[in-house]
Amino acid sequence: MGTIIDHQSFISHGWRTRHSALRLAVSASRTCLEAAGCPPNDVDLLINAGLYRDRNLGEPALAALIQEDIGANTEDPHPDTHGTFSFDLSNGVCGVLTALQIADGFLRAGTAQRVLVVASDANPGHGLSKDFPFAAAGGALLCRWSDDESGLGKVRWANFFDDAESYRSTVSVEKGRNVLRVEHSATADEQFAVAAAKVARECLDVASVDLADVDLVLAAPPHPDFTATLASHLGFPAQRICVAHDSRTHTAALIGALHEALSARRIQAGSNVLLLAAGAGITAGAALYRTPKHPIE
């Protein structure tokens, strides 16, 4: 029994979406819901884990705007049907894994039947960022509960506090304007990989699963240095670590990795997949995911 990902979608930017995380998120959500044959009104919970957004919007949650734009129970409350609850969470590149953990709690309780996890990033535009390093990309996962043996396992987390030495992003005044800046150290990827390998081992130990029984690791961030160091520290073949196609993908990177694996038919029904992410903080999270017997789309 567990939370399963029924459908996924992942999109890269087009001309209209290159400066709009909102449009990317809406487009990814619509694609995912249409592919699933799921009307937007069937979504009970919408969690947005994206960070870099239009004009660095601070309020409301971008999730509320996504909910309105995809048309999920947007009207005022009325009896005998259900509404949609939306909010944002931020945990950098680990945000999607955190969102899956939250989705799992609500699905487990029966409080929600369908949960949409969304993540997107784009240059905030209007000259509001300096050397924005991320690709404009967005992804969505439609989740539900499954009573068979498939689904998400217990998510394992570990923090290795480094006082933002390895990675930081801030908005502050520069030449009279509030500007977004992203900075990282030369060794950030290596540090993230070491943290990821450690939490992966703990996750496998808790679940009493051998690394050899893991079919594929879906990992984020999708940086070559991170992947190479992770393979080495984990003692796992690099070719069985799958990441998003574009190494500049950020919060949607885990969705991008799943998309990549499915496109390349690297995930079969009943596969043992390890979801693994590490980023700023340093925060690292890992969870085993047994894919459902029906093919994921």
Binding site: P60, A61, A63, H82, A109, N159
Partner: protein, 367 residues
Amino acid sequence: MVKNWLVMETGPDGDRAPYRARVVSAGRHLPSKHLTTDELMATTRHRTHIDLERLTGIHERRVSTGEDDSYNLATAAALDCLQRSGQSADALDVVISCSITKFRDGLTQWLEPTMSIAVAHAIGATNAMTFDLSNACAGMLSAVTVLNNWIRQGLVERGLVVSGEYISQLGTNAALHVRNIMSRELASLTLGDAGAALLLERAPEGVKGISVAGFTTVADHSRLCLAYPSSGEPGARMFTKSRELQKVAIAATPVLLQEVLDAAGIAITDIDQVITHQTSARAVRKIMAGITEELGDGPRNDAVITVDRYGNTASTSHTVALIEEMEAGRIQPGETVALIALASGLEIGIVLLTVDEELLASHGHDH
């Protein structure tokens, strides 16, 4: 099966939860400087002819003059909360930070790493997972809803919901731009600074704790309040259609409160205290009047109002008010409190909790 508009635990009949959650302790930190509404309005660049105190009922708010930022306020509140509970920080499974403002090192807004990992480190919560949850002024109660769910499902045993709002600088910026009562930045002049924290844990057998927590987003109104980093000044600016927001909140809240009452199997007259989001005294009274009119009766006591002393402290407002009422001895053990979130989004959430003796004792009341 009855369908609820709110996303909430289904109550006693369909309850799949093996555990219940309770609020063990609450903490807050308020900056020492009092800024009266008269003092704030004296700083407006234009002659506004606005009697803000009469409009909002806000006499003063606490403001940081730079000594506290979002991080300091959150950390101080978290330490206050833990100290009152007698609980060690290393017993926390999760720390969730929920502020709108994430100012650290002055008016630098931090996106990564999270505020939660910084606060967790500062308080010594070495074993806690961390993440930030953002949902405008509903942030803390949204996180309570998530943590309540995790505790009820046995996924965690204990967690801290924390927020530090260094948000009065939106008022400082608004004072430069507000020209008259129709200004969309008027709501920014109601804001005050505060830190707040709530410690939740698995409730022992027989303790009522949190009976219902439910939320919805009425997204047709998602663009009624928007805040961005300011283009010309440090900090941020917020643009709000306050009357439209209030109108929707007044219309929608009674329907949702009725769902919560039905789920809990109680009537509105069984609720002792209602603490709504503190935007203005007038707005709180209007929402309560709407509830009484629609449900045919009201709670046992008048709505709690603390906005007159602290202003609108954003996501911390319910916790600031809850502590105020407990410390004033206006909440008795066993009483039922409804915390109602009304925030940009439009987010509406209701958390129904029974205050127990331990929680009251942590605020100096031995019953």
